[in-house]
Symmetry: C2
Subunit: 566 residues, 2 copies
Amino acid sequence: MLKRYLPILTWLPHYHKRLLGADVLAGLIVTVMVIPQSLAYALLAGLPAVVGLYASILPQLIYTLFGTSKTLAVGPVAIIALMTGAALSSVAATGTETYLQAALILSLLSGGMLMVMGLLKMGFFSNFLSHPVISGFLTASGILIAVSQLGSLLGVESSGFTLVERLFTLVPNLATYNLSTLLIGSGTLIFLITMRLRGKATLHKVGFPLFLADLCAKAGPVFAVVITTLITWHWQLAGAGVAVVGDIPNGLPALSFPWGDYSLWQSLLIPALLISLVGFVESVSMGQMLAAKRRQRISPNQELVGLGACNLAAGFTSGMPVTGGLSRTVINYDAGAQTPAAGAFAALGIALVTMSFTGWLYHLPIATLAATITVSILTLVDIPMLRQTWRYSRSDFAAMAVTIVLTLGEGVEAGIISGVTLSIALFLYRTSRPHSALVGRVPGTEHFRNTARHDVETASNAALLRIDESLYFANARYLEDTVYNLVASHPELEHVVLICSAVNLIDASALESLDAINARLKDSDVKLHLSEVKGPVMDQLKKSDFLEALTGRVFLSTYAAWREFS
Amino acid sequence: MLKRYLPILTWLPHYHKRLLGADVLAGLIVTVMVIPQSLAYALLAGLPAVVGLYASILPQLIYTLFGTSKTLAVGPVAIIALMTGAALSSVAATGTETYLQAALILSLLSGGMLMVMGLLKMGFFSNFLSHPVISGFLTASGILIAVSQLGSLLGVESSGFTLVERLFTLVPNLATYNLSTLLIGSGTLIFLITMRLRGKATLHKVGFPLFLADLCAKAGPVFAVVITTLITWHWQLAGAGVAVVGDIPNGLPALSFPWGDYSLWQSLLIPALLISLVGFVESVSMGQMLAAKRRQRISPNQELVGLGACNLAAGFTSGMPVTGGLSRTVINYDAGAQTPAAGAFAALGIALVTMSFTGWLYHLPIATLAATITVSILTLVDIPMLRQTWRYSRSDFAAMAVTIVLTLGEGVEAGIISGVTLSIALFLYRTSRPHSALVGRVPGTEHFRNTARHDVETASNAALLRIDESLYFANARYLEDTVYNLVASHPELEHVVLICSAVNLIDASALESLDAINARLKDSDVKLHLSEVKGPVMDQLKKSDFLEALTGRVFLSTYAAWREFS
């Protein structure tokens, strides 16, 4: 029991020296790599850069205790930072005390929700974020984030959380661009893209061993940070209008509780729920993917508990909402992390930097961080997926398109809520008009297929009607219409057999309709039969009076019904 | 085309004398019978009694033009009046000009919505009011209405639209009861109940022919109205504190348009939608039932158009929201109405009364009308249905119970919205954790059933897994878990056959999961096969790359797969 909720108890007792070496190395690499992105994502959310560091310390340590993934690294991530910024700016102005407070409240709410969902085993909840909605949401968020960074890359003011707002505030200010910022920003951007696309191959070609070439290519952002910081420091560009990170107080965050108004808590409820679900889906799908590669397993419900604890920790230590991040996790995995201890070492590393070396970050240009964000989120934009989905299913595409358009046009919350709502509505609509088929026997077999698609044998006085959907309130009336039309257009019928092989559920409304069909057919001297009723459905029908009222029989197989009537 | 939208063109050209006699008689009977209930339902909605008459004239005439049911009678009905009262009292105080205006706006909104739904053929929308929700809603509304009439029966003030509000305003005033009102109210109540339960049999026993006995029993409310009006007039009880209908202006309503604030229209949108849906369901299910008795058909989508036109007419002529009413339609049907012309004659009759004879209604006691309402709505309360639904399905019962509790405790809107939401949520939850079964061959046949329920043959190296649900985003991950667990617990497996006889849909998320399952099984040297994939599903799979990537085959029947592996 204790082991279920504290997975550290399953691996720590077997910890040994060989693991320690690998984990310390991974922790060191992660420390260096994630500092730039942690600062960047805090800025993306409209928060002081240091918040990104705070949110990478205690949450990651807590995950070591509660997490079931061996390699997941927890901290601020791009999408969650974007959603956080949108949520906070709807309740407070950037830079105010309330804005900071709201970030903590958001973390606590999200942490509480995740934990409750985990304890109640409600991980299935996240399944309602369908694949097209998630992928549309990531694409649109990627575009939104890229546009939001454009201002920082050029040294121009811009604000807002929809595409239109961003562009409307950005374009009029374009003439005020800062040349030094533009050079640093675009230079970093080109460097990072080159490193990402060619870095590994080129370095390997000039003689680096493969592992080191890979590591150096991945460390592109670190090099960019060091070089542009040195340039900005050397020429004192901060005085020439280049925005820099500036003063960061040395020291660890104090433990605190963000009291705030009741109304503030209330208005952050929906954003917290969405952030929780999106964060969970991002984290758990990556965790599962990496676990599968090493033949390990993770427990989604315990992950909810773990991520919940991480967000509570973030809320108590001046952080921001966190989740398992794509890039930091991949760095950790590739750096050879063996157990969650690697995460703990990285957390300690970042704590050390926060305590003593934040002064080194003073001259780090914001434009460098903007370039880092832009390059890393462009991987989220998945245009081929749009084409694939269009080809496969128009209704999946519709959900995806609505998510993208509304995320860009109305913001992240509107986008994701509309996408989920539309997915569910389309599914319900589809199941409310079920496919059904008159089937006949494939000659010489006991197999029955659609008369319209296959060359099959039929009987003249009996219709074999296969209903391709569970019968429930949304399609109960449709079923009645289908059967009545069938009987009306085939006056020679004496028997109607409903083949229930695809009927997984008959609810009370559908039972009412079946009763009505049975009675109406009786009036027309047509008998109603059922075949291939599944065990669970049959169990339930036995609890009603329908089977006694049924004018016909219940056949185990369609073939048995066929033998009776042909 | 014209005939589709104006069904009167289908029957009027064939109209002849014999029909005329029957329709005029039915019209006359309906005129007399529905006047008391029309007044009563207007009062129930918190409106002046005469509004009930106005709403019974033009709407009924319009239905004659647009309706597809031969016998439906349109006008104010109990449930819609209750919902109207709840909606209006949330935006204005009873008795004010705005309250009257809001009633007209509500009619116009509801009329417009119904008409648009009809023209867009969105009648299926009402299917989402499942049977348990409707029946729970009717039961709770019946109780609410009965309690709301208690005050009028006793001559005591009460108000509110939830059970608690009603009781809290009623109980403290109980001591102020009016004896004359109490006697009239309880006397009428006992008389009406007796007439309903025993009237027909007793009258038949004392020598009335069956038809007349039935008519007289149904005319109970009319006798009660006449007698109590005469009593109140004779002893001038209106001066002694008995509430009466009072002055009603003679004359037809003027045509008018209720301008009102934009915000008033906006806040009535949701109530109008709910009233439209509930009214449509009540009307169409009764229309279908009666049409079936005479082997006629009605067109649900044209009914939407027709009811929409009726409500627009009510909104323009000082009326209130209307729909096809249970009791008035049954009276019309039993009185022998042959065509919608009967409705037109009833409308003319009520118009005549409204023009000239409203003075006769001055001394009609409100208590009499309250007794009429109480008796007629008690038929809505269906307690045995609660037990039946509990026995049949816990989740249907949950939807029903929530509808009842919230309708009583929070009002009609909260009740119906929660009921519908819960039905949908429970359906989605159920489909998100699909039943699946390992099946084997029923010896000697080509039929396959659950190994856990039937004595069947299985193969050691191949698992035949029947998935009992369409595969879509909500259960895609669940499917992955099911298959991985199956393979993990049966290391001897070389083949997994997914039997898709119950899979009616594979959406983009599920396709993603199938791809993942296929790849993961390939890593473990297990081949994935499909069988009994339905035509429409196969068509869609062909649009993706899944079939090329599939490690195994697609079998037409499970038996074909069985022959291959056993």
